[in-house]
């Protein structure tokens, strides 16, 4: 049946993200890091958490074209939900992830329903203000969120009853890696689906989508909600692994940071987060030890140059370089007279 379908249209007429050998690379690198850099596991887990967060933003921004400056809202809500759940209900980590996904998803649904009627500058502003509102709410609602002190002393029971969280963060790292793997698979499935095609259509030309009979607003809300839920999972991981939740997880700065990290890697390309985020965080880790302001200077310059000359991020640059290399290697060499 499949071969009959494939012959009717030319190859790559309906492209999708197919599995290639190179797809195993990031996971091999991540596992390699586990064995080779076992003293850096807490940084490693942080990076993995941010990659999950970056993937969630990519779904909203890169694939659905939703310009948002407020994604930290969902990360923070997920973190606080998981933290509260762990402190007051159960320290079981996997159900904590579900609770966080649910909480963040609900906030995503509500805010998406309200905000996604607008676009452009108004949407940027509204998403930013939503994050700031939630930040203030968390600041004031001491009983639940701990106010400015945040939540601390969060317990995380052993994973699946057997894998206890050790002091070196090894279990945490593998836990985060496993969650990242599941999230990534889910992301690939969604992006490759007819729904994924539809939201890319909305990103490209929402006017056309409307006149093709698409309920644009409803589709955007679903994409936004899914994205929020994934961000919530990332936040929950942060709460469970670092055992604390602070107001900085609900900040405009975090929204800005994840946006910058994702852009550096490249939006709308599935692997942009895998490249941009680890690179940024590793460099930041080194630079912060020396002088954080020097780091800011270079990030600033890099951003300006990147947006101007390489808007698709490092991933697009790499693809262009590869294409040029392939071209050079396959064109016959001219004879010198």
């Amino acid at each position: 049946m499949k071969s009959i379908i494939r012959n009717v249209l030319p190859a790559e007429a309906l492209p999708s993200y197919r599995l290639r050998l190179a797809d195993a690379l990031p996971w091999l690198v991540a596992l390699g890091a586990f064995f080779m850099f076992d003293t850096y596991m807490s940084l490693g887990a942080q990076i993995l958490i941010m990659v999950i967060f970056g993937i969630s933003l990519d779904l909203a921004l890169g694939f659905a074209g939703i310009n948002t400056l407020g994604h930290a809202a969902f990360f923070g809500v997920g973190a606080y939900a998981a933290g509260y759940y762990s402190l007051h209900v159960s320290a079981e980590p996997l159900s904590g992830l579900l609770v966080a996904a649910l909480a963040a998803g609900v906030i995503g649904l509500l805010s998406g329903w309200l905000l996604l009627r607008t676009n452009g500058l108004a949407l940027l502003m509204l998403t930013m203000v939503t994050t700031v509102v939630l930040h203030e709410v968390a600041n004031t609602w001491r009983d639940v969120t701990g106010g400015a002190d945040g939540l601390s002393g969060i317990e995380t029971s052993p994973l699946l009853g057997t894998f206890a969280f050790d002091l070196y963060g090894k279990t945490a790292y593998l836990y985060a890696l496993a969650v990242l793997f599941v999230v990534f698979i889910a992301m690939r499935v969604i992006v490759n689906s007819p729904f994924g095609l539809a939201i890319r259509g909305i990103r490209e030309n929402s006017k056309r989508m409307l006149l093709v009979g698409t309920p644009v607003h409803a589709k955007l809300i679903l994409a936004y909600t899914l994205s929020a839920a994934i961000a919530g999972i990332a936040g929950a991981l942060s709460a469970e692994i670092t055992r604390t939740v602070g107001l900085d997880l609900l900040s405009f700065q975090l929204s800005g940071n994840i946006l910058i990290m994702l852009i550096i890697g490249g939006v709308g390309r599935l692997y942009g987060a895998f490249i941009g985020i680890p690179l940024y965080m590793l460099l930041l880790d080194r630079a912060a030890a020396i002088d954080p302001f020097h780091w800011m200077f270079f990030v600033g310059i890099a951003l300006i140059l990147l947006v101007r000359f390489a808007p698709g991020g490092l991933l697009a640059l790499a693809q262009q370089l590869r294409q040029r290399l392939v071209l050079r290697l396959t064109t016959p060499v001219k004879e010198n007279k």
Partner: protein
């Protein structure tokens, strides 16, 4: 027939309504400026109806009103006999209305086949499915291939829209509308921007459009108009000046004065 259900086939409609699109007293005002004045229009199944008029006559505004992009100030719109005046653009498409734009409104970064697949996927009710590649859905692939072959675009199926020639993009614009299997098709200047020598593709396509679709097209290219139209409505300053068969319009003194100019005999 519920507005949300996929296209009803033409045979079933034939027994219920011959008039596919109707507007009654349609008006649009922006402040004190009347852009559309009391337009009554009636389009039957299988119609080849041209809407002509000088620049600024309100033709595109009329199409925007009919498709639901703009809200009318007064009047009503009927699709297949049912009132759609307050229905959203999306619901009208689901009810059998499709349009093309004067300026290419395509998905620039996607391939030709993907452009069609989006419309097909929406019509076939697949667009909410969160799994399964479009290329793995037989209906999508087969119908996309069939449509593209009919339009001579099959070999371009894997090319991105921004790598297409202008004429090819115009064809794709119509292809997307056809993928929706509409009962009423609104074409906004299908040959816009195409030099006379290359308009053969479009003319050919227009001639091959299914006979039972009701077509309303806006055009400035008079050759195209007089070749295809079986009925012409002349719009001037937002109001209908005259309506009738092509020969009558050609001979009409008022139309000549306002629009065609004395040279056209």
């Amino acid at each position: 027939m519920t507005l949300a259900s996929p296209m009803v086939d033409a045979a079933a409609v034939a027994t219920t309504a011959v008039v596919m699109l109707e507007t009654r007293g349609l008006c649009k005002r922006y402040g004190a400026i009347e852009v559309t004045r009391n337009v009554d229009l009636c389009i039957e199944r299988g119609a080849r109806h041209a809407l002509i008029g000088p620049n600024g006559a309100g033709k595109t505004t009329f199409v925007n009103l009919v498709t639901g992009v703009t809200e009318p100030s007064a009047g009503s719109i009927y699709l297949g006999g049912r009132e759609v005046t307050s229905a959203s653009a999306q619901k009208r498409v689901a009810a059998g209305l499709a349009r093309t734009f004067q300026i290419n409104t395509l998905f620039a970064d996607l391939t030709v086949a993907e452009n069609i697949a989006i419309a097909l996927s929406q019509r076939l009710g697949l667009a909410w499915k969160l799994w399964g590649r479009p290329a793995a859905h037989a209906e999508v692939v087969e119908q996309a291939a069939a449509l593209l072959e009919q339009l001579g675009l099959l070999t371009l199926a894997a090319r991105r829209v921004n790598a297409l020639a202008y004429g090819q993009r115009r064809m794709l614009e119509i292809a997307i509308a056809l993928a929706l299997k509409p009962q009423v098709l609104l074409l906004d200047e299908p040959a816009a921007g195409i030099p006379n020598g290359e308009s053969g593709m479009i003319l050919d396509l227009l001639e091959r459009l299914p006979a039972d679709i009701a077509i309303l097209f806006i055009e400035h290219d008079m050759n195209l108009v007089f070749r295809f139209a079986k009925k012409i409505t002349v719009l001037v300053e937002g109001a209908v000046l005259v309506e009738g068969k092509p020969d009558d319009i050609r001979a009409d003194e008022r139309v000549r004065n306002v629009y065609l100019g004395r040279r056209h005999d």
